[in-house]
């Protein structure tokens, strides 16, 4: 285990454990600091495939393709990426694909960068408009359970689900002028 992993918050390892327990094979992502631990763990796992994307909507299509081929996949992104996905999410409803995305929130808690705020305010509503069920985890001890519930709802119940990971979980970003 690398130094990074031993210092990552427990809730981030809990997400990885939930993905493993649900037999997730493909994890595609546009990176975020809050996902960094899970991304490292997936890259290091020979039984999982980590796929870096150029834009988040690719992940909506990719997870659907994985399901067509019998594998379970999830999409990791930050809240600013949700807006990029909107039309591609029509695929989920039209074909009733199971879908799970884990979204780290920006723009809602001690946010320094105002450019993050507009999409942050629209994140939950825009996904709900596209027919996606939205859950939220705000306390470290509930993260693993909520992610597990989302994976069950999707892959056992056929629902498209997003889990928002509150910015307060990730903590204040340190902004220091260079």
């Amino acid at each position: 285990m690398s130094a990074d992993q031993s210092t990552a918050p427990v809730w981030q390892e809990d997400i990885f454990k939930a993905l493993k327990a649900a037999n997730i094979k493909q994890v595609c992502y546009v990176p975020d600091a809050g996902h960094a631990h899970v991304i490292r763990r997936v890259h290091a796992d020979p039984d999982m495939r980590a796929v870096v994307l150029t834009t988040e909507e690719e992940g909506v299509a990719m997870t659907s393709g994985a399901w067509l081929g019998g594998q379970r996949a999830v999409l990791l992104m930050q809240s600013s990426g949700v807006g990029n996905c909107i039309n591609m999410m029509s695929l989920l409803q039209s074909c009733r694909f199971p879908f799970v995305t884990l979204v780290t929130m920006r723009g809602e808690y001690a946010e320094f960068n105002p450019w993050q705020t507009p999409m942050s305010k629209a994140t939950q509503g825009s996904m709900e408009l596209m027919g996606i069920k939205v859950l939220r985890a705000s306390r470290p001890e509930e993260v693993g359970d909520i992610v597990g519930a989302a994976l069950d709802a999707a892959f056992e119940g056929g629902e498209p689900v997003a889990v928002l990971l509150s910015q307060s979980l990730i903590g204040r970003k340190k902004w220091v002028s260079k």
Binding site: V60, A66, N87
Partner: protein
């Protein structure tokens, strides 16, 4: 002004797609929306076809997820220049992953055929084959002669890495051939062809 090879194209798109799929009876086929969807359906409906009626820009990425999930199957994406241009970044993502069993066939007529035949970017300077190569899809090539369909067939069968075939087709406005628009049905039928439960 336009400067594309497709303006001198001789390939009939439906004949080309039919010849291609006749040689690849087991291939898993993802279509783009619009003309490429109609072309694949006109070649004969198959359980192993997944037709897009929307989700523009997503065909190649559906192909990637599928190719990773089913590494021993031939995965062929049949799409158009406009659909691939909307998902240009996916060529970069696919280049990074190097799936051996994924071939993307771009039927390039240099136009947006479904919306009034406006010029697309391939008619205005973008070389999709060069883009694919520059994204790390080394086996990217252009097809200007219908008999070279055999080269595409061999590429799919060889499964040596991701490939892009940019096929210059006539900018015809053909009668539509409409597959089912019931996405749930098409999805479940496709999965059943792989022995997967319909869900």
């Amino acid at each position: 002004m336009s400067n594309l090879k497709s303006n001198a194209a001789t390939i009939e798109r439906r004949e080309f797609v039919t010849a291609l799929l006749n040689e690849l009876p087991k291939a898993l086929v993802i279509t783009g929306l619009g003309s490429s969807c109609y072309d694949v359906y006109a070649a004969g409906d198959r359980d192993r076809n997944f037709y897009l009626w929307g989700a523009m820009g997503g065909a190649a990425m559906i192909g990637l997820g599928l190719a990773i999930a089913q590494p021993n199957e031939q995965v062929v994406v049949v799409t158009g220049d406009g659909e691939q241009l909307m998902g240009l970044g996916s060529l970069s993502t696919i280049g990074a992953q190097q799936p051996k069993n994924l071939t993307i066939v771009i039927l390039d007529n240099g136009h947006f055929g479904e919306t009034g035949m406006q010029y697309s970017h391939t008619n205005l300077g973008t070389d999709l084959c060069a883009v694919a190569k520059a994204c790390g899809i080394q086996n990217s090539f252009q097809v200007s002669d219908a008999k070279d369909v055999s080269k595409v067939v061999q590429t799919v069968r060889a499964a040596n890495g991701p490939a892009v075939a940019q096929v210059f087709v006539k900018a015809d406005d053909l009668p539509r051939a409409l597959p089912s628009r019931d996405g749930v049905y098409i999805k479940n039928r496709f999965r059943q062809s792989l022995g997967l439960a319909p869900f």
